[in-house]
């Protein structure tokens, strides 16, 4: 259970909210945060860049007549909070609302078995040394290997003038491995990560295997030839393949884009946007998943939201402000990077639900195509729907079989066309961790799916 008394006292919160509304406004909120983290890296087999950070501060916002007034300060002393409230309200001249008395709402934070801060630093260092040894041991052609470790604990408390007082205690850990393989002139890289809204127990089950996976990708690419260029069927792998859905659909469903007319999904609610074999969710409640939280950064409980049901678009993703405008309830997607940022509608863990096709059968159905096993990342313009993905591991499909690996491929297309072109969804499933950037803010997101086939998509390679 959450006991946030130590982060912000209810009496202080009430005083700050009253101060925030002193010059008017319909709604006020204080978001208080204390975070502490540690990162370290291994490079050239040397443990380096050991860093420890601790920050605390608060952001106060006031909503009045369509405008958000926001101020943030470092520090959590009552004086700091009142200063933030005063600055947020400084430019405001409007009708005054009385804040309601606060009622504490308990939230159940995701369970953490082994607090990373209580694990000796030497064990974290030992984990990185193991990754290094296994990455380098994966093949004589591994020329470089790097790995990193990151832990952060973020305690947040949220109080608003509607009487809500709640909070969350979030601990995340993540490791990453990156390998460089070299053969003569050819240089290739491979990367893999493992993370969760979890404690050090995440590393109980062979974490070192990600080092071998990263090295394996780089080694495979040494045999790669240039990727083809042109339009063809594409089979996308499970796990991080889900970044495709994240970019192609997820961003366009965020209600701020919808309300500004800056999304290709405007006016499509209730319409068939994909073939009936496709159902997809955003789920911020998945236990200990990377993109999960108990409550979002406005204090709304996170939830499982079906966004596409049998190919039909059934929900957008809302934070409090956009929900108020559309007169619906928040879907618990109001997220912020930290106390220095305003909440905006963001995805949590987004995934395509498993379908019925065996991945092998999906590939067997392609005469000439491309198999994108994993991506380095992607980007979309939600307004135009144009997206692009960098393929980090890809192969040609020839005669229904996966043949040679390809380097330097990019997938490019338009959301609505590509989503409608998904003609098979695999019966396998995997979640992966990502870091999503929007409005200058980075938040942890989970992406998932099984294998998915897109009937036709542009592969941007160098071989015309």
């Amino acid at each position: 259970m959450s006991e946030r008394g130590e982060l912000i006292e209810p009496e202080v919160a009430e005083r700050v909210l009253a101060r925030a509304l002193a010059h008017g406004g319909e709604f006020a909120e204080v978001f208080a945060e204390r975070s502490a983290g540690m990162t370290m890296a291994i490079d050239e087999s040397r443990l380096e860049a050991v860093q420890a950070g601790a920050e605390q501060g608060a952001g106060v916002r006031v909503l009045s007549g369509g405008t958000t007034y926001f101020a943030h300060v470092d520090g959590l002393d009552p004086d700091d909070l009142e200063r933030a409230a005063g600055e947020a309200a400084a430019a405001l001249r409007a009708e005054r609302a009385e804040p309601r008395p606060l009622h504490a709402v308990a939230s159940t934070s995701h369970a953490i078995e082994q607090r990373p801060a209580e694990v000796p630093a030497e064990r974290k260092a030992a984990l990185l040394r193991e990754l290094d040894e296994r990455g380098r041991g994966a093949g004589a052609e591994i020329a470089q290997f790097m790995a990193s470790y990151a832990e952060v604990r973020r305690e947040v408390a949220i109080a608003n003038s509607e009487g809500l007082l709640t909070g969350d205690d979030r601990t995340r850990v993540r490791i990453g491995a990156q390998a460089v393989a070299r053969r003569g002139e050819a240089v290739e890289t491979g990367a893999e990560t493992l993370g969760g809204h979890r404690g050090f127990e995440l590393f109980g089950d062979d974490p070192g295997s990600i080092a071998e996976q990263a090295a394996g990708k780089a080694l495979t690419l040494l045999d790669a030839s240039p990727a083809p260029a042109g339009s063809m069927p594409v089979v996308v792998g499970g796990g991080f393949g889900g970044v495709l859905f994240h970019e192609m659909t997820g961003h366009g469903l965020e209600a701020d884009h919808i309300q500004k007319g800056a999304s290709v999904y405007v006016g499509k609610l209730g319409e068939q946007v994909a073939q009936p074999l496709l159902t997809a969710y955003d789920d911020g409640r998945m236990p200990n998943e990377w993109g999960s939280d108990a409550v979002d950064d406005e204090g709304a409980p996170t939830q499982k939201t079906m966004v596409i049901e049998d190919g039909r678009l059934v929900s957008f993703l809302y934070d409090g402000l956009t929900a108020r405008r559309d007169e619906v309830a928040s879907t618990g997607n109001g997220r912020r990077e930290g106390f220095r940022h305003l909440p905006v509608p963001r995805m949590t863990n987004t995934y395509i639900a498993p379908g019925e096709t065996e991945p092998e059968a999906m590939i067997a159905g392609v005469e000439q195509g491309f198999y994108a096993v994993s991506f380095g990342g992607g980007q979309v313009d939600p307004a135009t729907g144009d997206f692009v993905f960098g393929v980090s591991e890809g192969y040609l499909i020839e005669g229904g079989r996966v043949t040679r690996p390809c380097r330097g491929a990019t997938l490019i297309g338009n959301c609505l066309q590509a989503l409608a072109a998904i003609d098979a969804v695999g019966n396998d499933f995997e979640m992966k961790t990502g870091v999503c950037g929007k409005a200058g803010q980075k938040v942890p997101v989970g992406t998932g799916q099984g294998h998915v086939r897109i009937g036709a998509m542009t592969v941007g390679g160098t071989e015309v």
Binding site: V187, A227, D381, T384, G390, G408, T458
Partner: protein, 448 residues
Amino acid sequence: MIDVARQAVEATLAAGVSDAEAYAVEETGREVRAHGGEVESLTAATKRGVGVRAWVGARLGYAFGTDLSKAGIESLAARATEAARVADEDEFAGPPDANGEVPAELTLSDPSIAAWPIAEVADLALAVERAALETDSRIAGVEQAVYADADERIAIASSRGIAGEYETSSCYAYVQALAENDGGRETGLGFGLGRGPAALDPAAIGREGAERATAMIGASKPESRSCPIVLDPTVAASFIGLIGKGLGANAVQRGRSPFAELLGAEIADQALVLHDDGLDPAGFASSPFDGEGVPRRRHALIEGGRLRTFLFDTYTAHRGKAASTGNAGRSGYRSLPGVSASNLVVAPGRLDFDGLLREAGEGVLVTDVAGLHSGVNPVSGVFSVGASGRAIRGGELAEPLREFTIASDLVSMLKAARAAGADARWVPFGGSVSTPSLLIEAMTVAGS
């Protein structure tokens, strides 16, 4: 802030380390977002923090925090010292010595930031939106028009005699305009940069966003082929930023740069001249000294077609038996210093933009790229990124193009750079870059 930095150094030395350095930042900033003729949000920000490097012999640790009370700084000192004890020894990790060189006197802050109240900068954001809407009837709206500024005071002190402090201000405004035509929607970015709001031209920013959006109406995919490419300054800047990363000595020494073996070699056409200039008063990355207190300078990186130098901080200078070029960068108090370019400046050429198009003949003008963080292999320099722009036919702009990729590698691209335009401008992509449009003789275009 210099007092905070000095206190942190004292506290860290008292924790039993051999050397210490503290980097302290205090910042105030504002942001206004406008949409639909109204102010969507107003943000007032204050930010302060300190980051400490602690050396225990040849081991280096780092800690940062926002609690600048005596107890907060003592806790920071203890955490930095603990971090150092975890790290492995590294013979090159030592701090820079103050060598008596006097940093340049630079005026980096603009009084118009303090002089313009929030209501006036809010009007500026609204004016940017209005300008975009008034440019063309096909502009259906803007996603948002944004104004932001920051006034920063930065101080550094160390046990090796480094001590300095400076103030810098910056501001920008941008608009993402939306153009609509039968069912299709296009976006266009307009932006302006300056040290203070007085330097921004809201009408020009709005017009640029609108023109970029309307130019894309009716865009189609180009045919897949290899052809001449013109990169406009916003796109050229992104690639110049990638080249700047590859020229950092850290990537070079660790065998992770496509330029590692090319010092002194011919790597570019004579048309491309690139400097790293940490002292240009117009560059946002300019400062009297870098992230570890070493004076900033101006260096030729590519001149006469040859690669002249890599960029060094103190660590890579020790390791490469070279001198620091004053290129230790920091992204605030939260980060350890590391090699990075300051301002990358591409020398403008003689041809105006139309001249560049004529020179290109038949090809593609690229006005936007996407997916740079996933589409570029920083070790090999091979890239394939999403792009949009215009066809070039008979030396003139023709139909708009979208949903294609351009592919090459950074070294081949430099060698194929045939001409630089006369239209240099500062661009906030790829770091802080000033560049004109560039004509590249050939790149692979993948479309239909």
